[in-house]
Subunit: 300 residues, 2 copies
């Protein structure tokens, strides 16, 4: 899982929260980089990231933080990514590779391509790892181990840049695969974005007097509803149509279930329930972790 020879001299991480902080810790722990520059807007987060071993140096601006970088990884909320990627492309050395970790890809990649010139040293990426807990205080060097990282190169992406970003994620224990930006957003609407919306509705639909009777089932089902609105509302806005499509497909299924329940159609209910229970059991506990997953995405 990744050699321990130094792969980069200088890596700049823009945004040192859960994802950026974990990436910094993973790279430093495995001694894959000589120095990491942490870039952020708040001194307190940068201090915390440094004290937790995620970064060696810190900077309050992308412009000055990336000047020595061989690799820039933008790990900020999705609505900030495209602009910071373009800034990094402008101020990093010409050989530098730039990537991101945003949960949406279509709009970010399109914006970067619209403003970014011809061939690009930028590769969109999305490691499928995270938590409802944000901030450098929750960062963990093993966050990406066994997880899948989706890369979204386009016809304009330099192949050398794609290889560098593959190397990055594999070096911290992740698997990689390649999707179109649009395909990524459509699939992630099903597996992540729409479930977040549904968990929020489930949380809001809980009658107040029922709260004391909540048990582990409800809590697991709504865990992702605790995600920060500052991170999630922009994701929803950037992937609106795919999310609405996935929500509507869910609503069609719920409607069918609701009909079977209201007509006491036990045979139909049993058929619907059995198929879903079997499919869920097949997915396993953490299907995108190496060694446990049942389905293999196309490797990058």
């Amino acid at each position: 899982l990744g050699s321990s020879k130094v792969l980069w001299d200088t890596v700049a991480i823009v945004g040192v929260g859960l994802i950026g902080g974990s990436l910094g810790q993973a790279l430093r722990e495995r001694k894959l980089v000589r120095q990491i520059v942490g870039i952020g807007r708040r001194r307190s987060s940068l201090r915390l990231a440094k004290s937790r071993g995620a970064v060696d140096r810190t900077s309050l601006s992308v412009r000055t933080g990336v000047t020595e970088a061989d690799l820039v990884v933008v790990c900020t909320p999705v609505q900030m990514i495209a602009e910071q990627v373009l800034e990094a492309c402008t101020f990093a050395p010409p050989h530098a590779v730039v990537t991101d970790t945003g949960s949406t890809k279509r709009e970010i990649v399109a914006t970067v391509e619209r403003h970014g010139g011809g061939r690009l040293r930028f590769v969109g990426a999305h490691p499928l790892a995270g938590s409802e807990r944000a901030g450098p205080e929750h960062a963990r060097a093993d966050l990406f181990e066994g997880r899948l990282c989706v890369l979204t190169p386009t016809g304009r992406t330099e192949s050398e840049a794609l290889r560098a970003v593959q190397r990055l994620w594999r070096s911290v224990g992740a698997r990689t695969c390649v999707l179109d930006p649009e395909q990524h957003d459509r699939l992630l609407a099903y597996t992540s974005h729409a479930p977040h919306v549904i968990a929020i509705a489930l949380m809001r639909g809980l009658a107040e007097e029922a709260e004391p009777f909540v048990a582990s089932g409800f809590l697991d089902t709504t865990r992702i509803a605790a995600g920060l609105p500052d991170l999630w509302v922009p994701i929803v806005a950037q992937n609106r149509d795919a999310i609405l499509g996935a929500v509507d497909r869910f609503l069609k299924e719920l409607d069918q279930l609701r009909d079977a329940i209201s007509h006491y159609d036990v045979a139909q209910l049993r058929r619907i329930w059995s198929e879903a229970a079997q499919r869920r059991a097949r997915l396993g506990r953490v299907s995108n972790q190496q060694g446990r997953r049942k389905q293999q995405p196309p490797d990058a």
Copy 2:
């Protein structure tokens, strides 16, 4: 958490799956009972329960299994409970107390009262503990520790029987509270039954090609969808109206969210999301576990 003096000479447990098996293990481990009789229809389950230390003796019939019992606990799927409770009331010694662990209470309690004579030594109960994994092989002596057990006595319940069932659940580490059977079913529709229905719909709505991109968020959100249809379809049938009510309240919330998303109403989306995220964070990780819960239900 429960003294270790012997509280009962003979306890009969009807149904030695996850709940019955865990209760037997908990009672034996704490030496709260001289002997436990396990009652079930399948020899293989009874053998497994005995080999795992959940029961001392076994019987294939309620009629013969309860003849010496001071306490009978019916832990079978909800559609079987009322009949087995009535059978236990008929064939157990006159001083015996009978209780159950079903996830619904209204129909079970009403059926027992309709056929059960005047004052009743039966108390409906529902320990809020469990798992999507069924069977004696998943039983654990600590399953009920720190969990809440809802008791549903009525005006016809002998107060001595209520005290005995309180003692049972407290002796294995649970807290107890009292609700009307109807109130129990209405509240559990919100916290457990409707979330199961929604998780099933979410599982069915997942596009097949998205499966490889499922991560821990989706898996947690749909964990309860792996519950056995044989256990869950009868629960849904017995609590139809309350479940439809909770599903409709959820649908109203989802509709509001869907509107905000489709109109790009970011301010509204942020307000909805923030309220839900804060409420979810307040509920904590496992709110019905002792020491972590924020809201206290009325104690029994």
